[in-house]
Subunit: 137 residues, 2 copies
Amino acid sequence: MTIKEVCEKYNITADTLRYYERVGVIPPVTRTAGGIRDYRDQDIDWVENAICFRDAGMPVEMLIEYVKLFQEGDTTIDARANLLKEARETILEARKKYDIALEKLDYKIGRYEIAQKTGILSWDDCDDSGAKRKKHQ
Amino acid sequence: MTIKEVCEKYNITADTLRYYERVGVIPPVTRTAGGIRDYRDQDIDWVENAICFRDAGMPVEMLIEYVKLFQEGDTTIDARANLLKEARETILEARKKYDIALEKLDYKIGRYEIAQKTGILSWDDCDDSGAKRKKHQ
DNA sequence: CCTTGACCTGGAGTCAACTCCAAGTTGTAG
DNA sequence: CTACAACTTGGAGTTGACTCCAGGTCAAGG
């Protein structure tokens, strides 16, 4: 698979793919005799994983660390497992924040909808604060 | 509440709080006669919201837009409601990616744990690719 | 063989979101 | 009234993650 095809498959730029390889977010990609990247199944899996974990907010630095350990071989199994567990916690934490934001958003959107339907607006309906505080007064 | 107290409450730096105010992520904060920030309940609510939505990956740009609309008054109710709904979709999309990453991670961690328990390691157990492809061969 | 378009590399540039700094002001304790 | 810590501003610097570019190479069509 050419770099272009991988770009289209994952909707990502060639520059980003080359960058990932250059800094070690993915291991070196298979090349043709002429030195042109020829993404094979395994290369594509690394790309897919990289994109997946980047999309979940994992820093490039951590992906590099994982690839580095992977390339060092079987002696790094424990370290890799720990890295993944740490990543799991990080992502769970982050997702919790998304849930909190969604809750807040749903509450606000609800208030806006009431305001829109009734045509009645007040600080309490559309402010970022009043309503909530009023409740436990 | 002083800037320091707000920093401690939300575990954020004073520079970030001033930056948020400067660029309009939050409206101007109440000041003392001498010009020192005195965060009142409403100011704190804006801070809390800003942090919450930033934590959910909302760009500063969008928070600025919301505050701008809010300051323009009741005529922007619809625009604000739309902004919030758009934000909701964005956050839902992002959270989906977190779920996918978590699924992938759990699968990998599971494989690593088996490898660690049995002491048997193979490409299939610890690689980022082989196992998955093997399944549907 | 020659052109033309996709690909290559190393390095510089950009962007969002802070983060740091210098030079000056405020406010409290002694 | 004087230290001195905590605050202020405007502006410059940093960081992470790309993104762009110049100058050169590869490969398929004519």
